[in-house]
Every structure is written in structure tokens, then in C-alpha cells.
């Protein structure tokens, strides 16, 4: 037995074959630790493939509550013959390995702790039906790991039966027998030789485990969405599918049994965006969800939405690259392009959620913002946030009422004697609109992307175009006061600041602690929640000598966006930390880069 136990601070890396049913075993293992009150996160690293290629799942347990990816692996569960050797060779000295006996990995290195388990033999004992063994086999490592890490087996049982649900009790029972077989084997045959251990804590009480896509879908449903149009694309499809499920459960009119929403799986992203435009123009709360390649196809409609001033919520679950790129890897690759997509001076508000609770709350806010400001609005998730499991606060019921913005009714028109669609009545750049189907002879107006004057009449006059463009600029400035302000951790002693968006926050916060604890470097950090930026970003930069901007992309897109927005005098303070390897960002990468640029290492 190792001298000092490492309690509630490690990562488990499970290597399996895609399509082998390992997702259930991994989720159950993660939930078991979560139920013991220990903060956890789960990251699925999967190939673009239905079955057969290697896949990895990493569970991190952190008593300090760090839930970003941890670079170092402490316990490897090696189930995949194809990757077993590489997986073992990549480990740091001292790590532990649970492996499938026939893989005979123990001979590869002598600086690791090995636990050999005969999975085929054990599964045969609990599953007489050979066809089902493949699906049950992985559950055995839950039993083995539970024993090795001192995870309460009762928590494993609870997690397993919750996962399978009431309808699949028989399957759950068979899987539970597999867990017990793994545990029994470990008790009788394995001698604990690593230091890792789970001990009960109370840091997860009242929390959820949920992925960002599901949370965003739920947010849209509680925002009062009425039209969803979409085209399947990884990693956003599960968002649309979660919405379809929630809408079916929560949004059928009890009186008529009919739907208070419409969902259309369109023929492509162009049509999905066009339907959002048409629906929102007619007064629906409309949205679509997609990923980068889909945004490219939507860009013409997005530009039209900007100029014709049509609301719409566009959720982009970002992945790596154009075309197929790396469709199952994560990136903040559309940070810059989403802010300006399309042509002829266009810009859009963009939300940067970092957690499931923000996916939920920002989705509800985004619909109000889109309708108040009559503009397409982006919500930038990334694959890490959208598809991985996160601990989350309980979702809070939205406080702000549904705000449909400046829409004139027939009564308003009667009182006003008419309206001018693009006239800036209130000085905030936001004009009034009417919806088709408003029963009044003064309601109609003509919508076009081409030049128009403030009465919505066709115009190619320079002065009309300039006036319109300037009003759109005023509108964007008004938006600045309506988007959420950043989250700031200010340290008066710090000369160094760090700025990030979205999921980079976890690596940023942990790296800031590492810089303080390991190098004595004080830092402040600021997490942007939306574009356009607010004045607090300027203040933050002024308050520090050097500010590191974290980007999960090669070209420092967030930094570039800041440079376009900020006072030139501030730009010399800015530095860049970039990562673009497709995996969720880890703290050590941020720590190393800041330490290097600070000349400490």
C-alpha cells in the first residue's frame, strides 16, 4: 500500500471500442463518485464512427471542484486491444492500470501499478447468453474500480438502476450482477498498490449532472420557443433531439391535445435558416441549432436577418474545422466569424455560455434579446460543453417575462394612424415592427435586404443607406447595455490578468490557482459572457500590466475580436494563450504558457 493516499483528486481514463456499450458503464462510474459528494466531470473522446474505432472516456474527481480536463491520467482502464499499448506508454510513472488479461500489458513498463482482470471469464459467469455479453462486459470494470477506489458499492447500484430506469429493470439486474462479479474478483484477487481513493464529501448536494446541449434545449423550451428548424450535424443534433423530447412532454396544449410549437427537420441548413427568418418575421419565437459548417450555409440568411432586422436564435455547438474537419473534437473556432458572419458590415450579439446553467439561462435571455433588438443572436457552445457531462446547479425558473419587443398591434396602428418600419422613434436604434396577419390596412410593409428608407420604401440613395447603417450601429451600441456583464475575480495585488470565454474558464481558474500555489504569481481573471463587450473589460485591462487572452483556436480569435473593439492604447497589454488540439482545454497547458511568457520558467 502506498504511503499517503491521494483522496478525491485523480482522473480515470477508460479506453474502449466505439459501440461496445461503454457509455453506460462510464456514466454509472462517474455518478457513483458524484453521489458520494465528490465533484466530478466526464469527457467523452469519441471518433466519427458508429462502431469499431477507439474511444476514451475520462472521469475527473476533484475535491477542490476543478472540473476541467486534467492532463495527467492516474488510473487507466484498458479494454481496447488496438490502443492498449499506446495508452500504457503514454502514462506518467506511478499511474495504475486495470487491463483485460489477454492484452498482457504488464510487461510493457515496470514503473506502473497493474491490475489484470479476466473479463471474458467473468462475463460468461453472469451472462449465459453469448450475444449479450458484449453489452454487459464493460460493467465489470465498474465493480473492479469501485473496489480499488473504495467507492461505496451501494452508490454504484443506485447509479446503475437510475441509469437504466424502471422500464429496463431486467437489463439493469444483469448489469448489476456484472458489477458484483467485478467487485468479487477484485476482492479475492487484487492487492491494492496505488494511492487513489474516494472518500465521502458534501460538495455535490443539490446538483445535477447534465450535458450542455440538453441544458440549452431546456432553456429554449422555457424561453417559450415556438419554432425549431434544424438539420442534423454533430455535435448539435443532440440539442435538437433533446428539445423534441422536452417539447413533446411539456408543450402540448392540454385542452386541444395539439402542439404549441413546430419542429421541422429541414433539407439543409439554408432552409433551416430561411424558415427561422420566415417564422420570426411572422412573429414566432424561432431558432435553429447547428455547428460551424451549418453556419457557413446560413450566412446569407443571417446577413438578411441583420439588414431586414428579423429576430432569431442561432445556437452554434462549435467543432473543429470546415467540411468534416474533426467533427467529434472541440474548438472555439467560430468566435470571430459568428460576430461578423455574412457581408456588407454585419455584426451580431453572441453569448458565451460556460456551463449547463448558463446554457439554460442564456437560452432564455437570448430570445428576449433577439426580439427586443430585432436581430439574429448567436449562442456559442462548443462540443466539450454541449456533449460532455457536467455538474450543474439546479436550473432556476426564468425571472424575466417573455418580451416580444416593439411589435405594434392593430389597436396601436389605429391610435398612431400608421407607422414607419425603420424609423428610430425611441433613439435606441430599434424601430417598431408589425406582424403579417395584423388586421389593419396600415400594418403592411415590404421587407427586403436591399436599400430602403425609414418608411421601408425601396431606395438606392446614398443618404438613405448611410442613415440606415448608422441607425444599425446605434442599435448595436444599445445592445452593449443589454448583454450580460463579465464574471470577474479581481485581485488587487495582481499585475497579471487572464481573460477567457466559454469552457476555457475551468482551465483558466485552475491555472490561476496553480500559478499562485506553485509560482507565487498573483492573477485576476475575467470571463466574458457575451459580445459586444462591456466597459468592464476596458477597466480590467487598464488595471493590469499584462492580460493573457485564452483561445481554443490557432488564430487567437477572441483576442482579435477584442482588438477590434478596444481602445488602441490598451492593445499593447494583451497577450495570447492558444490551444487548438481538439481536446478540452486543460489547466496545465494554460499554466505552462503563462509561466513561459512571464519568464518564470
Amino acid at each position: 500500500m502506498h504511503a499517503t493516499p491521494v483522496v478525491n483528486d485523480f482522473s480515470i481514463h477508460v479506453a474502449t471500442v466505439n459501440g461496445s456499450g461503454s457509455q453506460t458503464a462510464n456514466t454509472v462510474l462517474m455518478r457513483s463518485i458524484f453521489q458520494m459528494g465528490v465533484p466530478v466531470s466526464g469527457k467523452n473522446l469519441f471518433p466519427s464512427n458508429i462502431a469499431g474505432l477507439p474511444t476514451w472516456f475520462t472521469i475527473r474527481a476533484s475535491r477542490k471542484g476543478y472540473i476541467g480536463r486534467k492532463k495527467e491520467i492516474d488510473l487507466l482502464v484498458a479494454m481496447n486491444p488496438e490502443t492498449g499499448k499506446d495508452d500504457v506508454m503514454d502514462l506518467a510513472p506511478g499511474a495504475a492500470v486495470v487491463y483485460d488479461e489477454p492484452l498482457a500489458l504488464a510487461g510493457l513498463r515496470d514503473d506502473l501499478v497493474y491490475y489484470s482482470v479476466p473479463f471474458d471469464k467473468l462475463v460468461a459467469g453472469v451472462c449465459p447468453e453469448p450475444k449479450l455479453r458484449k453489452l454487459v462486459r464493460n460493467m465489470i470494470y465498474d465493480g473492479v474500480v469501485a473496489h480499488l477506489l473504495a467507492i461505496d458499492i451501494e452508490e454504484v447500484r443506485k447509479a446503475l438502476f437510475k441509469q437504466f430506469g424502471e422500464r429496463k429493470r431486467k437489463a439493469a439486474e444483469m448489469n448489476w450482477q456484472a458489477v458484483l462479479a467485478g467487485q468479487k474478483y477484485a476482492v479475492e484477487n487484487l492487492t491494492k498498490a496505488d494511492a487513489l481513493k474516494v472518500e465521502r464529501m458534501d460538495a455535490t448536494h443539490g446538483r445535477l449532472i447534465i450535458d450542455g446541449n440538453t441544458a440549452a434545449a431546456l432553456g429554449c423550451v422555457f424561453a417559450g420557443v415556438t419554432v425549431l428548424t434544424w438539420y442534423p450535424i454533430t455535435p448539435s443534433s443532440s440539442l435538437a433531439e433533446a428539445m423534441i423530447d422536452f417539447l413533446g412532454r411539456l408543450r402540448m396544449d392540454p385542452e386541444s391535445g395539439k402542439a404549441t410549437y413546430a419542429v421541422v427537420q429541414a433539407e439543409d441548413e439554408l432552409a433551416a435558416a430561411g424558415m427561422v427568418m420566415g417564422a420570426a418575421w411572422a412573429g414566432a419565437r424561432a431558432m435553429t441549432c447547428t455547428s460551424g459548417p451549418g453556419i457557413s450555409l446560413m450566412s446569407e440568411f443571417l446577413g438578411l436577418g441583420y439588414f431586414a432586422e428579423i429576430p432569431g436564435v442561432f445556437i452554434d455547438v462549435q467543432r473543429v474545422g470546415p467540411s468534416t474537419g474533426l467533427p467529434t473534437r472541440t474548438m472555439q473556432g467560430d468566435t470571430l466569424s459568428n460576430a461578423f458572419v455574412s457581408h456588407g458590415d454585419t455584426k451580431y450579439p453572441v453569448y458565451f455560455p460556460s456551463s449547463p446553467e448558463e446554457c439554460f439561462s442564456m437560452a432564455t435571455e437570448a430570445f428576449n434579446l433577439a426580439e427586443k433588438f430585432q436581430t439574429p443572436v448567436f449562442i456559442n457552445l462548443d462540443l466539450d460543453l454541449g456533449m460532455n457531462n457536467w455538474m450543474s446547479e439546479l436550473f432556476a425558473y426564468p425571472q424575466a417575462p417573455v418580451d416580444r419587443g416593439k411589435v405594434l398591434s392593430a389597436e396601436d396602428l389605429e391610435r398612431l394612424g400608421g407607422f414607419s418600419r425603420y424609423l428610430d422613434v425611441d433613439g435606441d436604434g430599434v424601430p417598431y415592427r408589425t406582424l403579417p396577419g395584423t388586421p389593419h390596412d396600415k400594418a403592411g410593409y415590404f421587407t427586403r435586404g436591399t436599400g430602403h428608407d425609414e418608411h421601408a420604401r425601396y431606395s438606392e440613395k446614398s443618404e438613405d443607406w448611410i442613415a440606415n447603417m448608422d441607425r444599425l450601429s446605434r442599435k448595436f451600441e444599445s445592445l452593449r447595455g443589454a448583454v450580460p456583464a463579465p464574471d470577474v475575480s479581481f485581485n488587487a495585488r495582481a499585475r497579471v490578468g487572464v481573460v477567457s470565454i466559454g469552457t476555457s474558464r475551468y482551465a483558466m481558474e485552475e491555472a490561476c490557482d496553480q500559478l499562485r500555489d506553485e509560482l507565487g504569481l498573483d492573477t485576476s481573471w475575467l470571463r466574458l459572457k457575451a459580445y459586444p463587450f462591456t466597459a468592464s473589460l476596458d477597466e480590467f485591462i487598464r488595471a493590469h500590466d499584462r492580460v493573457y487572452v485564452i483561445d481554443q483556436n490557432r488564430d487567437a480569435q477572441l483576442l482579435a475580436l477584442m482588438k477590434l473593439d478596444l481602445d488602441v492604447a490598451l492593445l499593447t497589454n494583451l497577450r495570447s494563450v492558444r490551444y487548438y488540439g481538439g481536446l478540452p482545454l486543460d489547466a496545465r497547458t494554460v499554466f505552462d504558457e503563462i509561466a513561459r511568457q512571464e519568464g518564470i520558467r
Binding site: G206, R207, L208, L218, F222, G224, V225, T226, V227, T229, L250, R251, D253, S256, K258, A259, T260, Y261, A262, V263, V264, A266, E267, L270, A271, G274, M275, M277, G278, A279, A280, W281, A282, G283, A284, A286, E300, F301, L304, A308, S392, F395, Y397, P401, V402, T434, L435, P436, G437, P439, H440, D441, A443, G444, Y445, F446, T447, R448, G449, Y458
Partner: protein
């Protein structure tokens, strides 16, 4: 001295004269077929007593797509993106399925850049008039062939089209439109009746109108010119339309007509010409279109009608009220619902 008396204005069933059904002055060429189509559309909407505020006019890009500015000036109009009007129109109907949607497109807008959206719109059968002003040529960009140009047709510059045409009516019948007609902008009576029928149909009504381009496709060798159409148009029937609010008895000559009642009670009367034509038969419609094309005839009239398939918003089982106007109490589930979801993920 006699005082001149103002002429009595004719009004429709809503008490409206034709003025609210008119729009801005056309900016298309004098003699353009599209202007005649616009006139027929104005008449049809006025005669049917369509409420102007209930109409959404949606178009893509091109000469035809400019025309929504020239009729129903009180209605909402949306000149959208090239080839994408079907998505915008479908979206508008999702937002408010009580709108009367009139989509105006052309042959480039529908059969080239917009073919994908066209095909998928056919499959969904949204309740709207999909009017194609088909001149076989790109006018705004000065005379290139479009995808409906016939094989062997000559352009104004003398080039010969080497590619087979896309027949929007054949596609419409094949892929799911429930009202399919072809007409000619110069055939005033037929077009007027078809448009009134199409506007009364509860489903997707595709009306493909051969509408000559006087600037770029009205010459010798063109198969979309006025003179070609005069020589080659082959009407399936003479057509009359009797709106639901008009209970005129029709004088029926024995066996000489076919009468179809639409969902709102309006009636389409098809007067038999040389042979009987049953527009409810998809197979027959397709066969007749192929026969006509083999003998260089342009078949016009009501090609196909299916009143059994539900429209898109009915398929989606939407509540009766337009989604656009639903109150928060119907679109935001209550706090207890969120509690239950929270519990599921604990």
C-alpha cells in the same frame, strides 16, 4: 350645363374596391408577361374577397420576385434570398398558419438555385400559392438560359440550349404538391380561373405560368415566346371557377363537364374539350405531360388535384391559434415542470 357624376366603384364581398389590391408601379419591361400575371392576381384576390392584411407575399430574387411590390400594397411582403423563398414562406406559415401565403418565383429561382427547396416544399405540402413566372431565361442578368429552357431552344444571341429542361409541373405532381396547373400569361380567362382556384386550395398549389420575356426570349427559335405559345398551347379543358360565396347554378351541358368542390365550398368547373381529363389521376397527368412534350405541345389547365393529403401545418398538429400570438401561459411551462426536470438529472 350638366354635372358629371362620379362612376360607381365596383366593390367585392368585403366592400373593397380594387385599389387595396393594387401595388406600386411595375418597373418591369412593357409587354413583360409577368405584368399580365400580376394583373390576374390582383383580379383574383379582389374577386375572391381575400383580406389584404391576411396575405403574406414572399419571393426570392429575379424579375418575377420583384412583382410582390406591384400588387396588394397593404399586405406584408418579403423579397428574400435567391432560391430560398420556399423556406421563408414555410417559416411564415409555421409562425402563423392562418396567413394566405402567395409565393412568387421564377424559373431560375425555382428550377436552378432553388430546386432543392422547391422539391422539399412539394413533399411538405404547405398551404400556399406557389406561382412560377416561367420565361426560360435569366432576364436581370441579360439572357442566359435557365433550367426550364427546352432542349434545342435558341437564345437571343443564337446559342442553342444543349440540356434537357426541368418540368416544374412534373416534379410537383411526382413529389407531393396537391394542386398543379400550367397556364400562359396571354391566356387571360384560363389564368384568372386557375389563380382563383389555386388561392382557394388547402394545400400547396403550384401554378407554372409561361410568361414571355420580351427583352431576351421572345424571338424566333425561342420556345417561351408569345408566338410559340400561341401556336403550341394545348388546353386540357376550359375552366370556370365559382367561389363559395356565389351560389350561381351552372348551365350544364350533358356529360360535357367535370365539377370539383374545394374544401371551402368553391367549385371548379372543367369543360371537356376533345377528350375527358381527370385531374385526380397522378399517373394520367404524368402521361399526358410526357405525350404533350413529345409532340411539342404545351399542355395547360388544371393538371392535378389531390384533396386528401393534409397541409403541412395540419400534419404538424399545431394549435388552432397562430404560434406567433400564443401567450406566455401557453409557451412557458410552469415552475413545477422545471422542478420535475431538475429532479430527473439529480
Amino acid at each position: 350645363m350638366s354635372t358629371p357624376t362620379a362612376p360607381v366603384k365596383k366593390t367585392n364581398r368585403l366592400g373593397l374596391d380594387v385599389l387595396p389590391y393594387r401595388g406600386g408601379k411595375t418597373t418591369l419591361c412593357a409587354g413583360c408577361g409577368h405584368n399580365a400575371v400580376t394583373e390576374r392576381l390582383i383580379e383574383a384576390c379582389w374577386e375572391l374577397g381575400v383580406e389584404p392584411w391576411r396575405v403574406a407575399k414572399i419571393s426570392g430574387i429575379g424579375c418575377s420576385s420583384k412583382t410582390p411590390a406591384y400588387f396588394l400594397g397593404q399586405s406584408h411582403g418579403f423579397n428574400s434570398v435567391h432560391g430560398r423563398a420556399p423556406a421563408v414562406a414555410t417559416g411564415a406559415l409555421l409562425g402563423n398558419h392562418q396567413l394566405r401565403c402567395v409565393l412568387i418565383s421564377g424559373d431560375g429561382d425555382t428550377a436552378s438555385i432553388g430546386l432543392g427547396q422547391y422539391m422539399h416544399t412539394l413533399r411538405r405540402n404547405p398551404a400556399m400559392l406557389y406561382l412560377i413566372e416561367n420565361n426560360g431565361v435569366y432576364g436581370l442578368t441579360k439572357g442566359q438560359f435557365s433550367a426550364t429552357s427546352d432542349l434545342g431552344a435558341k437564345s437571343k444571341s443564337g446559342a442553342v440550349n444543349a440540356f434537357t429542361p426541368i418540368d416544374c409541373c412534373l416534379a410537383a405532381i411526382e413529389y407531393g404538391a396537391t394542386f398543379v396547373a400550367r397556364s400562359f400569361s396571354g391566356d387571360k380567362k384560363q389564368l384568372a380561373a386557375l389563380l382563383r382556384a389555386a388561392l382557394s386550395h388547402d394545400g400547396l398549389a403550384v401554378v407554372d405560368v409561361i410568361s414571355p420575356c420580351v427583352a431576351f426570349n421572345d424571338h424566333e427559335g425561342s420556345t417561351k415566346s408569345y408566338s410559340y405559345m400561341k401556336d403550341h398551347e394545348e388546353p386540357l379543358h376550359e375552366i370556370d371557377f365559382i367561389p363559395f360565396f356565389n351560389d350561381i347554378e351552372v348551365e350544364l351541358e350533358d356529360g360535357g363537364i367535370r365539377e370539383v368542390t374545394l374544401h371551402d365550398g368553391s367549385r371548379i368547373i372543367l369543360h371537356k374539350l376533345e377528350q375527358d381529363y381527370d385531374p385526380s389521376s397522378r399517373l394520367n397527368a404524368v402521361t399526358r405531360l410526357h405525350q404533350a412534350s413529345d409532340s411539342d405541345e404545351v399542355l395547360t389547365g388544371l393538371l392535378y388535384l389531390d384533396q386528401t393529403r393534409p397541409s403541412f401545418t395540419k400534419t404538424l398538429n399545431l394549435v388552432d391559434r397562430p404560434l406567433a400570438g400564443l401567450p406566455e401561459s401557453m409557451t412557458r411551462p410552469d415552475a413545477a415542470a422545471l422542478e420535475r426536470i431538475n429532479e430527473e438529472f439529480r
